[in-house]
Amino acid sequence: MVQKLDRLKESPSQTAGPYVHIGATPNWVEITGVWNEDLGLVLVGPETKGERIVVQGRIFDGSGTPLKDALVEIWQADAQGLYNSPQEKRGKADPHFTGWGRQPTDGTTGEYRFETIKPGRVPYKDGRLMAPHITFWIVARGINMGLHTRMYFGDEEAANAECPVLARIEHKVRVPTLIASRSEEKGMPTYTFDIRLQGEKETVFFDI
């Protein structure tokens, strides 16, 4: 026998199930009066610094059907590339931007939509800059453990080309699954980021 390491095991994941909204966005499923507003609905206020953008898309299963019962969370840096987190040691992030958002996919169309700002660049662990990106975390019925991925910006070709994380993707044909296309909708720069759980164009998911 040797000495014990006394470490614990991470609690195993279980699916969020079809009714994740009851806990995460109760007002959205008409459980009103318990708390005033669902967390993570609003990221941007009048004093938030940075370019206002919309990020939208759908999540498709292996048959090409959009998920209408998923929950999407995003986590991103502010316009200067700083995270609003006590773990951020490089400086103080914009106090008017939490960087965290949460939205259900629409029960009819399967679309999710965030109004946010375009994040600045953040360094990789060796100091090289990563391209601007938004972290995504997706849970739903049938997903046994939340899926992590990243959205990159289609109009950041130079930054994307030198991003050390995108460079780690062995099959270059899969890189475009992480890049959102930019368009204008109702005067707002809009990035469309569709996520595919399976198939030839399966999104790159991360084991972080």
């Binding site: 609690s11 967390l39 990563m130 049938g142 046994n144 899969r174």
Partner: protein, 241 residues
Amino acid sequence: MSDQGPFYQRDRSWHPPAFTPQYKTSILRSPQYPLLSLDNTISEMTGPTFGHNKLGPLDNDLIRNFAKTGDPIGQRIIVYGRVLDENARAVPGALVEFWQANAGGRYRHKKETYLAAIDPNFGGCGRAITDEEGRYWFRTIKPGAYPWPNGVNDWRPAHIHFSVFGHAFAQRMITQMYFEGDPMIWQCPIVSTIPDKKAIEQLIAALDRESTLPMDALAYKFDIVLRGRRSTMFENRMEGN
């Protein structure tokens, strides 16, 4: 303590795999390509925080936070525990959200069709933020088991869903709590997505007679473990583990 390094690699043999055919919905919703392994960057080692001021006084009281005409029907229980990391240290300031069916096994959700009755006094959601020692607690009624469309006769054991934010987005997790002594745990296609029996047992809350409220409510203890971080012993700091 050195709250600096990247998080320990996830033990994916402890968690359920994505593709678990006995749970049919997972078949078309499970990624099939390998995940891209990424040692944590700042993007994963940071995460949102939620102040105690976000919470209302009834947020952790599911018996009262939706009540209209009286208390909800069902077995009154208290659920309490600690949020720890893999180094067995408390995680203070963690937002813990929970949701559940009512005593009859019916969820308050517009897409729910099970014939068991809705309880007019039960919403089924609550939340808490852990204190300095990582503790959380809430009061609720024990949820009922219910049938669900998978096989023609599959049932979920009584359970409460948990969503937990630690200090970093890398720790983000959702899981479910089961109840000690429930034979239905071992018949459930969702529970059995977890391959290791010891891992399943980690999700079973213990009945705790010493924490019951006499003549009022039973108590169940449910600790939650989030990922732990590597120490930085030979880097900038020498604070040890």
